[in-house]
């Protein structure tokens, strides 16, 4: 790949970005006077909500994945493809969508109130759980669906010829697969939810529904208690590392699954009741996932034409941050698309963006005003957080390329630059486009570290939407959310499309 020196520089900069901020956090944590009851509560809530979120996501995903695995219907491919969409969906957009459906003035309450039924309350633990299930049910479904489709068709045929009933089929064929896949899916979602910030910020809050990440934010933003933030950050790192290592051991299935658009023919599921049950799961899941998005579009259209200059300014900031983090992430990823590079990149999952943000804040503070560097820090942290996903996408093809053309490169004596420009970039154009789209969309929708640093002049669009929500300017917030949705999906589409256009055979 790139010259060894470039790989070493890229690796050292990633290591520096981990060690520097963590060291700064550890040093600051020495001044800590002890855990307060509120900190214990935050730790407890973090663990409880992550456990319940993972459990609910997996429990609902099993029947949904089974229904998708054994039923063919018009729009199935589209629905399965849409299950990948929440990954690049800005959290604040999803939250606004969920509020529009399940919130105090949401669609459901407008139906329930006239019937004299009690109103739904979305804020608190159940709101956090609902948002996490919204984001992670699709992920769990895709993982489990892949497991279902990986069962050889011969097993179903054999079961049919043996005249196996549903119970026997479950025991002999489906349960062994689920036992292998489900713990990994649970662990991955648990890790994701452990570092939940934006969901907790918008739907949680209050002493009873504060995650560690949110407590870190509150220590920084409201109390400016850097020592407390640092200790909470260390606890967060410890938790994420332990859970991440467990997840790594338990996960056997890659997230980027292929071939999910087919279904496995079955001979034991022709009864009308089973068709109805499967149909109900599919319809309910589609409604749960698509209605909030539809509401974002419906509510946002009116506000879209009445956005203030500050919203457009923050949209400009978001675009710059997204482009910056995409460029930085690819600069890291190209020379690190190796096995050891991927291990290094995993630190992007283990290290919480907020902890990283605090560390960078502490490092920068003696030399410059950290708030003035908010957008640069956000772009850097977003690039770092996207790195593991980008490496997962690039590494397999980069390694194939090295295996196929390494000797030709050697025989020609190609320089690192010539290899990069003439071979690597054109041959990896497609995965590079996809990876760039993913990074840009993730960065565009991020509401994490920017919340720590930004003053009103440097807000990104997700933060601006959050601020508008906080000020109860819901129409503008809805317009901003729709703009954010369009920009995130648009950026993803542009990069992904760019990678596909003119790809040489």
């Amino acid at each position: 790949m790139a010259p060894r020196a470039v790989s070493i520089i890229a690796a050292l900069s990633v290591i520096g970005l981990v060690i520097g901020p963590v060291t700064a956090v550890v040093l600051r944590a020495e001044a800590f006077s002890g855990f307060r009851p509120a900190d214990w509560q935050a730790l407890r809530f973090t663990l409880v909500q992550a456990t319940l979120s993972a459990l609910l996501s997996v429990v609902f995903a099993v029947p949904l994945a089974r229904a998708l695995a054994r039923r063919a219907f018009i729009g199935r491919g589209l629905l399965v493809a849409l299950l990948g969409a929440p990954f690049i969906l800005p959290v604040i957009v999803a939250v606004l969508g969920l509020l529009a459906v399940f919130g105090q003035t949401g669609v459901l309450n407008r139906v329930l109130s006239p019937l004299g039924l009690p109103e739904l309350q979305i804020y608190g633990l159940h709101g956090v759980l609902m948002a996490h299930v919204f984001f992670n049910l699709p992920l769990a479904t895709r993982l489990i669906l892949q497991g279902w489709l990986a069962i050889p068709a011969e097993q179903f045929r054999l079961a049919a010829t043996l005249g196996m009933g549903r119970g026997a089929m479950w025991r002999c064929v489906e349960w062994p697969m689920l036992r292998r896949i489900v713990p990994g899916a649970f662990a991955v979602i648990f890790v994701i939810c452990l570092s939940s910030f934006a969901v907790a910020l918008t739907l949680g809050g209050g002493p009873r529904a504060t995650t560690l990440e949110l407590a870190i934010y509150q220590s920084m933003r409201f109390d400016f208690d850097l020592a407390r933030a640092a200790v909470l950050g260390l606890v967060q790192i410890g938790l994420a590392l332990c859970a991440g290592l467990i997840a790594l051991r338990m996960t056997s299935v890659p997230v980027a699954a292929k071939g999910l658009d087919r279904h496995a023919p079955r001979w034991d599921m022709t009864g009308r009741v089973m068709v109805l049950v499967d149909g109900a799961w599919i319809v309910l899941a589609a409604l749960f996932l698509l209605t909030p998005l539809a509401m974002v579009v419906l509510n946002g259209v009116a506000g879209l034409f009445d956005l203030g200059a500050s919203v457009w300014q923050s949209a400009g900031h978001s675009i710059l941050v997204a482009l910056g983090s995409t460029a930085l992430c690819l600069l890291w990823a190209l020379p690190l698309a190796t096995r050891w590079g991927e291990w290094l990149g995993l630190s992007g999952i283990a290290l919480s963006p907020l902890v990283l943000g605090i560390g960078l804040f502490l490092i920068v503070q003696p030399f410059a005003n950290p708030f003035e560097l908010a957008l640069y820090v956000t772009a850097t942290v977003n690039a770092f957080v996207s790195l593991p996903f980008v490496l997962r996408i690039l590494r397999p093809e980069a390694e194939t390329l090295r295996a196929e053309y390494g000797r030709l490169r050697g025989a020609l004596g190609l320089s690192g630059w010539a290899w990069l420009w003439w071979v690597l970039v054109p041959r990896l154009k497609r995965p590079l486009g996809f990876a760039a789209g993913l990074t840009a969309a993730l960065s565009m929708g991020d509401l994490g570290v920017i919340a720590l640093f930004a003053d009103p002049d440097r807000a990104t669009l997700p933060l601006k939407v959050y601020q508008l929500m906080g000020a109860y300017r819901m129409e503008q917030a809805a317009g901003g959310a729709l703009l954010l949705l369009m920009l995130s999906l648009g950026m993803f589409w542009l990069f992904d499309r760019g990678g596909r256009v003119g790809t040489a055979s």
Binding site: R407, A411, S415, W417
Partner: protein, 234 residues
Amino acid sequence: MALHLDAILARAGEFELAADLTVPEADRVAVVGASGSGKSTLLDVVAGFRLPERGTVRWAGRDITRLPPGARPVSILFQDTNLFPHLTIRQNLSLALNPATGRQRPGDAERIDAVLERVGLSGFGGRYLSEMSGGQQSRAALARVLIQARPVLLLDEPFAALGPALKDQMLDLVAEIAEAEGLTVLLVSHDPDDAKRFARMVIVVEEGQVTAPRDTEALFDDPPPGLRAYLGGG
């Protein structure tokens, strides 16, 4: 000016290759032997893809043992992947001429045209590999090594995928060019007929032991026991 392999010992896992021989300048030498005997390992040592544990490789008296493949006076034609399929033939040749940048310099276009004409591919510079037949692809690969203009040419069964007539045609073309340019050529082949057709001398590789080059005709008239077994003579 000759290619010397002095007391070479190379290892590939459990496999060991020992070679001590000299290939005269501007000679065409075939390397024959059974599958897994070490023919390709021998070529890897000469090309620089495998560092020997012991011994030296010298060209014209200069020790090239530790030089990287691209810096050696050696070009090599592999069994496959001799060109990048996403680049046109002209871009591939340009990259071979300027491995540091890949950018064409003044005079490069004329050199590329001349080499393409030499291998019978005039007017094919703008094509991709996928737009060419198997024979044309082999000629394009040959153009790539010719434009590198290095005195030693290694051929690692590059025409094995071609039909017999096309393969003979390519071997004749390489022989003709090698003669004209004064190239020293080592051809690895599992087909004794290739050796007879192409090479004046033959090196036999048997279970990692490499013999010194012998006259082709004399060798096949009275093959040593190992080669006889390989040829099916018992």
